[in-house]
């Protein structure tokens, strides 16, 4: 993979451009769209800060499976669903504010662990195509989620309040209001700097999480994960229990995604029972990739840069589209297209690189063999 070429000035620049093409592209898109949209800097900064608090934790949950070589964990949706179920229960029990959020997180843990275990087992059966499998798993569990929330909540899982139950007597309404815990995490210790509200506590939690991820990378388990991510066979020869390590990475990711979803929803203030989770995985993955991550390598820096760039595009696109064409739908479709486009590009780059590396290895092997013959 590493080019042997001399790092001449022009070559270095070209390499930098190539390696950071996706973030650069988004910087250009934002630079063009922001002036057209006509939003004030104050408004944009406020929005970005809010969205950083809302989304970063969710995106952080993607990092560990990437380290373990399992690619982009589309199965983070499972964690999101666990978080949603926990929030539905907690709001039915009428636990409010921060205690409600803490309780929801605790309730989500066993659900997330169970789903993560299932997802990890399935992915261990589909080595080499983890991504498409985790993607389909999220749909499959989405069906189970519907079964639980739409039919079992009421008759089997007791739900007391008619404000969240469908009028027919079982199943949960399309939207569940989380007014009693809305932004209680964000508002505690919040400070205003030059008119920008900074959710200090949420950022503190995110900061702790980042430290936790860095620390985890240094533990025995974290080292094992990196080894498994680099080469399964080598890791197995070194005596690492590959299956177990991969399983744990998915479980951790799922649990963190559950927490992330609870943080996300407490900021939003209401839960769209049947659609909140469907797109969340895709947008988190897109944001991570926009930050310059790839399928096999992602850092905390990628998460922060990605959230800023991606959400900047997401905020300004509809307005800019409306200004250019007179139709705000264009901008909405554009940001969806941009999200899918960036994932597609990242996947293509990953696969071509993988293939090149394989070819190169093959050629070197050939070379070595021919030299042996001499």
């Amino acid at each position: 993979m590493k080019k042997q070429s001399q790092a001449s000035g022009a070559g270095a620049v070209a390499r930098f451009l190539r390696q950071n093409s996706v973030p650069l592209m988004f910087i250009i898109i934002c630079a063009v769209l922001i002036p057209i949209s006509g939003f004030s800097a104050g408004y944009l900064i406020n929005e970005i800060v809010t969205r950083m608090g809302r989304n970063i934790f969710l995106i952080l949950s993607l990092l560990i499976p990437i380290t373990a070589g399992m690619g982009l964990n589309f199965g983070m949706t499972l964690g999101a669903m666990a978080g949603e179920i926990a929030l539905i229960l907690v709001s039915d029990w009428q636990i409010w504010g921060i205690p409600g959020i803490v309780l929801a997180m605790i309730v989500s843990i066993p659900i997330s662990v169970g789903l993560g275990l299932l997802c990890g087992k399935i992915l261990n059966m589909a080595k080499g195509r983890e991504m498409v499998t985790s993607y389909i798993t999220s749909f499959f569990i989405g069906g189970v989620y519907m079964l639980v929330v739409l039919y079992m909540m009421g008759p089997i899982i007791p739900i007391a309040h008619s404000s969240i139950k469908l009028p027919r007597g079982y199943g949960i309404r399309n939207t569940v209001s989380l007014l009693s815990m809305r932004q209680s995490l964000d508002n505690l210790l919040a400070i205003r700097v030059l008119g920008v509200k900074i959710p200090t506590l949420t950022f503190l939690i995110i900061g702790l999480m980042c430290l936790g991820i860095v620390w985890f990378g240094k533990t025995k388990l974290g080292q094992d994960m990196r080894a498994v991510g680099q080469d399964i066979q080598v890791a197995r020869d070194a005596g690492i229990d590959v299956e177990r390590t991969r399983l744990i990475s998915i479980i951790i990711s799922t649990v963190l995604a559950g927490f992330g979803m609870i943080i996300y929803l407490q900021n939003m203030g209401n839960l769209s029972t049947y659609s909140s989770h469907t797109q969340i995985g895709m947008f988190c993955i897109a944001a991570l990739l926009v930050g310059g991550a790839s399928v096999e390598k992602a850092s905390i820096g990628n998460v922060f840069l990605g959230v800023i760039l991606f959400h900047l595009m997401f905020i300004v696109a509809p307005q800019a589209g409306a200004k250019i064409t007179g139709d705000s739908m264009i901008g909405e479709y554009f940001r969806v297209f941009a999200s899918y486009g960036v994932i597609t590009i990242a996947l293509i780059m990953y696969e071509t690189r993988k293939r090149k590396a394989k070819l190169m290895a093959g050629r070197q092997l050939q070379l070595a063999q021919s030299e042996d013959v001499k």
Binding site: I95, W96, L103, S163, P167
Partner: protein, 156 residues
């Protein structure tokens, strides 16, 4: 073997800790809505008339100002409910402050407090009752969830 045992102990400890925290959260985070009525109360044949004005206060903050036959409300987390009420018997009279102290029943979402009854020092069951909300209007209109997911999100 010993190591395994210790790991297991740690895990059990963690689970126990989480359960303890959950129990604490269930206790301190339980939210109630408390309604205050400045209404005449009939109790055991006697009548406790409403007052000219009652002001419910939480420390220095005013929660509700109630004229005759009015109802106010406040959200409260936890079971120990504690506020004060300032009673004016007539316009220009000297306000008298009474504490409102109440153990909120865990199973009740909405609790109605009849202030005249409380001020008169009646037993608690006389002036505390459960608030039962009427079925929300238009509830029957809500349809089942959409089968096609909303693929173009408006916000994330």
């Amino acid at each position: 073997m010993n190591r395994k045992k210790r790991a297991l102990l740690y895990r059990l400890g963690a689970v126990a800790l989480l359960i303890v925290i959950s129990a604490a959260m269930l206790w301190v985070g339980r939210g109630h809505t408390v309604y205050f009525d400045n209404k005449t109360l009939e109790y055991e044949g006697q009548s406790y008339p409403s007052f000219y004005r009652m002001t419910v206060k939480d420390g220095d903050a005013t929660v509700a100002k109630l004229a005759k036959r009015e109802r106010g409300m406040a959200d409260w987390m936890g079971q120990h409910f504690e506020m004060q009420v300032e009673v004016l018997t007539e316009k220009g009279a000297e306000p008298v402050v009474y504490p409102i102290k109440l153990e909120l029943p865990y199973g009740m979402d909405g609790i109605v407090v009849n202030l005249p009854g409380m001020v008169a020092g009646l037993p608690q069951q006389a002036w505390v009752s459960e608030f039962i909300p009427s079925e929300p209007q238009g509830a029957q209109e809500e349809e089942l969830p959409p089968t096609e997911e909303d693929l173009v999100p408006t916000d994330i």
